[in-house]
């Protein structure tokens, strides 16, 4: 079902939809571009924040590294006794508050017993420095000793928890002590500085990232050193975590991080929070600092602003829609009134009042045009009413003329029920109310039956009037003269004498001797009749002859045939052979002959009906253009013979 929409609502809808579309695109692109700009700005902020934090960490670690290296270099330069070494360790530790413990270990010497010497080690407890030598043969394969030894360079250990069980994160900076024996530099021992990372944990906790953001620190192996989720610290690496969470993409990010990469990465954290993460390495230890910026918070201002703009836009659109609707209604209201008024006019009330014209706009012009049209229509209908009345009068007169004309032709069949020698039947079907065709038959004397068919040129009233004259003359002259050629010549003479209108008529006139079956006939330009004999129909060859009317003193040829009993003579006008269908196709003589042959054995009334029906069928719905007239006569033999 299709709902009818008013112009106002269609207009309002289109404007609203377009406006919403424009605003959506505008606000969407505003939001997107703001985010891009914000992300760019945030990248710089994040980089600054991370690098500043790293700088603070690095400063401390670097200093510790330098002290440890200095210590190692001292041990390479000079020979120290056990007491001298202990004093050096103690003094160095005392001077460097960031170091928790300091020791020096040397390569085992198989010549001594035990081969692994006791390792001198001092550590800080409050303000006191405590001597706590390591008496274990295991140190040569501990990380803090083995890694710098095997790598031949300073190494920071993977952080570990302090042995005291205080949950304090520690790391060790170890520097190999070399001995140049002339051939090569070999590692003689390792200086180790243990560092508490409590300050680092505090520093990391102090990094504020918006409201809900946070930072975390990864070791070289990817182990969490600091993280808001304490369960992760020292338990999980970023890789074991990604394995648990089944997030391989995070593993790739983790690999970039622990390999010393830096950059900004989209990151969905453990709680499923979408975030951006900036990460950068701590150069001396190979650790990685990551700072997580929650997207929701990062883009909160842009989102809120966008929502406000969207709200304003929405209110604007509502207002705009209302305004558009109001204006559209205002513009189309006169149209609506006009439509109602015209509906009334359409229903026939031409006096219906049109809405008052308030302005000279298109609607005003339309109203004026409607008013003018209504006036013109009223005049036209008045004229039409008068014309129709006149036409009806003429029509009724014509109808009467039709009746009169029809009554002139012999219409009562059988016409001569007391004459068994022949049978006769006829039909005239005028194309208009009155026709120019006619037929007639009458006895001249007791045995001679005159019958004729005529076609006045032209149709309608003039032809009908001319026909009246011709018919009257033909009957009068027929009864007076008694021979067809003389009848035609006589009638022609009278018609031609006063023929100002130059009208003419064709006539085929014949006289049947009912005793012998002889037919005498003459033709004045009419179609030759059809003879139906022994079931065969053929056109009778006749002289053409000149039409009646235009010229005086025309002689007509008398001809004759003899009908055998059962023969039928069929006379017709060109209304039959020239009947046309929609394709302008003529009915034609050939079809007529075939049709007659088909109904040759029928009674004459049936034959004429059949031919009429046949012609009507051919013409189908094409209007009848000419009068259709036919007369058929069948000779049955002399009286008493039948």
């Amino acid at each position: 079902m299709r709902a009818t929409k008013s112009i106002a609502s269609t207009f309002t809808l289109v404007v609203s939809v377009c406006t919403i579309l424009i605003f959506s695109v505008t606000i969407g692109s505003f939001y997107y571009r703001s985010r891009v700009a914000l992300k760019k700005e945030m990248r710089n902020d994040a980089a600054n924040l991370v690098l500043a934090s790293i700088y603070r960490v690095e400063t401390t670690l670097h200093a510790i590294g330098k002290v440890t290296e200095g210590m190692a270099r001292s041990l390479e330069m000079g020979e120290y006794t056990d007491q001298g070494l202990a004093a050096l360790l103690k003094d160095t530790l005392a001077d460097n508050g960031d170091i928790h413990g300091l020791g020096a270990a040397f390569e085992p010497d198989p010549a001594f017993n035990p081969p692994t010497p006791i390792v001198p080690y001092f550590f800080r407890q409050g303000d006191r420095l405590i001597f706590d030598p390591v008496d274990s043969s295991q140190y040569p394969n501990r990380d803090w000793y083995q890694i710098p030894k095997e790598l031949g360079r300073k190494a920071w250990s993977e952080p570990y928890f302090d042995s005291g069980g205080h949950g304090i994160l520690m790391t060790s900076c170890s520097v190999p002590v070399f001995l140049d024996n002339g051939r090569e530099k070999v590692v003689r021992g390792v200086v180790v500085a243990d560092v508490s990372l409590e300050w680092l944990t505090k520093l990391m906790a102090s990094i504020r990232v918006l409201e809900t953001g946070y930072s975390f620190l990864l070791s070289r192996n990817g182990t969490f050193l600091t993280h808001p989720n304490r369960d992760l610290i020292m338990n999980e690496t970023i890789f074991s975590l990604t394995e648990s969470l089944d997030r391989p993409e995070l593993r790739e990010l983790g690999r970039k991080m622990v390999r010393g990469g830096s950059g900004l990465a989209a990151y969905t954290d453990l709680r499923g929070m979408r975030a951006l993460m900036y990460y950068a390495p701590v150069p001396s230890t190979g650790w990685t600092l990551g700072v997580v910026f929650p997207e929701a918070e990062l883009y909160a201002d842009v989102r809120n602003l966008t929502l406000v703009v969207a709200g304003i836009a929405l209110a604007g659109i509502v207002l705009l829609t209302a305004a558009v609707h109001w204006i559209a209604r205002r513009v189309t209201a006169p149209l609506g009134a006009l439509a109602e008024a015209t509906e009334e006019i359409a229903s026939g009330n031409f006096d219906a009042a049109l809405p008052a014209v308030r302005s000279g706009d298109e609607v005003g012009k339309l109203t004026f045009a409607f008013a003018a049209m209504t006036g013109a229509l009223k005049d036209y209908i008045r004229d039409l009413t008068e014309t129709t009345a006149a036409k009806e009068r003429i029509q009724s007169e014509l109808n009467m003329a039709t009746d009169i004309q029809a009554s002139l032709l012999p219409r009562l069949f059988p016409a001569f029920p007391d004459r068994p020698e022949f049978d006769i039947h006829a039909l005239m079907d005028p194309a208009k109310e009155v026709g120019g065709d006619f037929y007639d038959f009458f006895f001249i004397d007791d045995t001679n039956l005159c019958f004729l068919v005529a076609d006045v040129a032209d149709k309608g009233v003039p032809a009908a009037l001319y026909m009246m004259v011709a018919k009257t003359l033909l009957k009068a002259e027929g009864q007076r003269l008694g021979e067809p050629d003389q009848i035609l010549a006589g009638v022609n003479r009278i018609l031609a004498a006063d023929n100002d209108s130059c009208m003419f008529t064709t006539v085929f006139c014949a006289i049947l001797d009912t005793a012998s079956g002889e037919v005498r006939f003459a033709n004045a330009g009419h179609n030759p009749p059809v003879l139906i004999s022994a079931g065969r129909a053929r056109s009778l060859p006749v002289q053409a002859g000149f039409v009646l009317g235009p010229m005086e003193d025309v002689a007509y040829t008398a001809e004759r045939i003899v009908l055998r009993p059962g023969d039928t003579l069929f006379l017709y006008t060109d209304g039959i052979t020239e009947a046309r269908n929609r394709n302008e196709e003529l009915y034609g003589q050939k079809r007529l002959l075939e049709a007659l042959q088909a109904v040759a054995r029928q009674e004459l009334a049936g034959m004429i009906r059949a031919i009429r029906a046949e012609v009507a069928r051919h013409a189908a719905d094409a209007p009848q253009s000419d009068d259709v007239t036919m007369i058929a006569i069948r000779y049955k033999g002399p009286a008493g013979s039948a």
Binding site: D143, Q146, L151, G222, T237, F239, S240, L241, G254
Partner: protein, 326 residues
């Protein structure tokens, strides 16, 4: 009425007596694992947690192992009644005396491997020639030495401690690793499996059974039934652990946290899955917990060649002899 009260009293007394008898029936014993709590010992934890030991009439106290706490020393010092030991450890101890009895062989084949980084150009065993290879102290390195011997490799032996940090920093070219432990630790430090070249010893013909349950022979002779019950309950514990991996991992993580040991869920999950691969026999007719004579013989040969012992006891004696069938 009076008779009814009396009957009730008698019934209550009987019930109390039964309960006390049950209490008394639980035999106390101590188990010393060879290392700190981890999924390597999940079966024993689950046997305790799920009351499987109790159902076998045992009250097992699982001691805390780890660096500096030798399981075999605990056993010989009678600080523990049972211990989880490597077959190599057990055979060396058996040779030195007092003698031990293998109650069950838990890990059926060697989980040891040598791991190298492909980037260091090591693709086949002979590429290890003259390279720095990390080896654990003592009997833990025996299968690796056998491997090196198989390929006649001379390597620079670097003592390897408990971490793989030296390997991660490229301080050594190849590290010793347990499939269920160090190998995954390396993966968890961000090294991808396809970056590693792994030589699994068992794929190189060295099938060296590892974790087994042991008791001192003299203690075992006194009460074989107790030891057998312990072994059966422990195997049942392992079956339970494999059937309930998530529950087991929770228990392992809890025990690790209680012991202040770094505990990674992913790592323990990996370890439990690998223990299953190592413990559950590969072929359908294999029996869980049974020391295979062939593997025992092979291990014995390696020990005679590299472990400094002259003879190994015959299989029957080592696995408890006739008592096993009783």
């Amino acid at each position: 009425m009076r008779a009814g009260m009396m009957g009730l009293l008698v019934l209550l007394l009987a019930l109390a007596a039964t309960a006390m008898a049950d209490e008394r029936a639980l035999r106390k014993a101590r188990l010393m694992p060879m290392w700190s709590p981890q999924a390597q010992f999940a079966g024993y934890y689950m046997a305790r947690e799920q009351g499987i030991y109790a159902r076998h009439g045992l009250d097992i106290d699982i001691l805390e192992g780890g660096p500096g706490r030798s399981a075999v020393e605990s056993l010989t010092a009678c600080e523990a009644d049972f211990a989880v030991l490597w077959l190599a450890t057990a055979l060396q101890q058996d040779a030195a005396g007092p003698r031990l009895v293998n109650l069950a062989q838990i890990v059926q084949r060697s989980s040891l491997m040598l791991v190298a980084k492909k980037a260091s150009g090591i693709a086949a065993p002979h590429d290890l020639m003259e390279r720095k290879v990390g080896l654990w102290n003592g009997e833990l390195s025996l299968p690796i030495l056998a491997f090196l011997d198989t390929y006649r490799l001379r390597v620079r032996r670097i003592p390897q401690a408990y971490t793989v940090n030296l390997f991660l920093l490229d301080g050594i070219d190849a590290a010793s690793a347990m499939w269920y432990n160090e190998y995954h630790t390396i993966l968890s430090a961000g090294v991808n499996p396809d970056e590693l070249q792994v030589f699994s010893l068992h794929e190189h013909g060295i099938t060296f059974p590892e974790d087994g349950l042991y008791a001192l022979e003299r203690a075992y002779r006194k009460d074989p039934a107790l030891a057998r019950a312990f072994a059966q309950a422990s195997l049942e514990g392992w079956r339970y652990a494999f059937d309930h991996p998530e529950e087991t991992i929770e228990v392992v993580l809890r025990i690790m946290r209680q012991a202040n040991i770094p505990a990674s869920r992913a790592h323990q999950r990996w370890m439990l899955a690998r223990m299953r691969d190592l413990i559950v026999p590969a072929d359908a007719d294999g029996v869980m917990g049974r020391l295979q004579p062939a593997a025992y013989e092979a291990a014995g040969r390696i020990l005679r060649d590299h472990g400094g012992i002259a003879t190994v006891p015959d299989y029957e004696t080592f696995t408890g002899g006739d008592d096993a069938r009783n």
